[in-house]
Symmetry: C2
């Protein structure tokens, strides 16, 4: 009855495998699975064992428990090709210059420790803060926070609404910038990020911090931190 072909280690694991297959094929985002009681009866196991199996799906981000309601399916179609076939590649040097971005936020706010250190300004002093969301084929892939120390650019920048920020700086402020340093790390998606990027809580994100200098005087022009869905994008670098 159960698929025990690959790793027939435990009962709950076999049930988890079976449930994952069903969730990925015959259930859709927003659906609720049958109740734990029903599923336990169907598989002929104790409800604890069934719960342990569902735990696996919860940890994989495929379903969510809702007390009093049921087990919510989160499956997204691009969850299937876990292998890198369906990934997009992005050149690491193209940070901040994607024509497909939309602006989510544009404010002036005090710089925190990290931003102040990067921009070379005093902690708590004002800086321009933009947030953009980049999509590929309509799917959100990166949320990028940009900070700029030069407040004189604010009247112009607040008009930025979509497209490439670097192209905008060039066009409206005659400002050309180049990358001085790039730092790459990875971490799990937190609540806000998982909502923006439409992914599971704790899904892995690539984090790229870039410092951009003005070409003319080598002053810091922009500091950006991009968070990119690691299941969608791979960074490349040619030497």
């Amino acid at each position: 009855m159960l698929n025990l072909s690959r790793h027939p280690t435990t009962v709950y694991q076999a049930i988890a495998d079976q449930l994952e297959t069903e969730v990925r094929s015959q259930w859709r985002s927003g659906d609720f699975l049958p109740s734990e009681k029903q599923l336990a009866e169907r598989f002929g196991v104790n409800r604890h064992t069934l719960r342990r199996a569902v735990d696996e799906l919860v940890n994989k981000g495929l379903v969510q428990r809702r007390q009093g309601k049921g087990i919510l399916v989160l499956t997204r179609p691009w969850d299937y090709p876990l292998h890198a076939q369906a990934r997009f590649s992005q050149n690491l040097m193209e940070q901040g210059s994607h024509p497909t971005s939309e602006r989510l936020l544009a404010v002036i706010r005090p710089a925190n420790t990290e931003v102040a250190a990067a921009l070379g300004i005093e902690e708590g002093s004002d800086a321009i803060h933009l947030r953009t969301l980049r999509r590929v084929d309509g799917v959100p892939v990166s949320v990028i926070n940009h900070w700029l120390p030069n407040l004189e650019h604010w009247p112009t920048l607040r008009a930025f609404s979509q497209g490439s920020l670097h192209a905008f700086l060039q066009q409206h402020l005659s400002l050309t910038v180049s990358r001085a340093q790039t730092r790459i790390s990875a971490r799990r998606a937190q609540a806000k990020e998982s909502k923006l990027l439409e992914i599971a809580l704790h899904a892995p994100l690539l984090c790229v911090r870039t410092l951009n200098l003005r070409d003319d005087n080598q002053q810091v022009a922009e500091y950006s931190v991009s968070l990119t869905r690691a299941d969608m994008i791979e960074l490349t670098l040619e030497h």
Copy 2:
């Protein structure tokens, strides 16, 4: 007895909070906690309840279970100050040339699809496969798989046991190599990787795929895939 000050919701949560405090203050990486039986008796709860509390710490990546042994503490003091202060930086260009690596594996085996494509050989034909583990201050940070297409190097390479692979190639085979392409992605740690790197299951890993060419004739000399603890290492790139 238990710290119920903040979220006194459940027994297991209160125990988890208490254990987390203790793990962060009085235990060190590599220690084993008292047995579940002892802890359950100490807190006056059933072993299931104690296990549910430890589950919380496992999910946070603070401890790891080892069947038959105990509960391993992984405390990383840099877990809370989410700022990257305590991180080590690694230049992205230094892939494969770390003097602190130890060899875990050295075999000849058929290349799978990915490796064959990278090395430019036929799928299923033999290649040299090395696996190394890199540590920083004794803490495992990267596991690296290296594949080399030239089987003539095997008699020499099988003697490689520790240190920098690239230095070894240079010294014993007069082979100098350079990076041609680098691809960077991120994913969650799977079971084997989390054990090797002593991190939580599903902890984020940076994955760097590098293609190295011989300097003399530009032939593919080595393809490597490194998996690095994202909580420990940050990749940097100066331009």
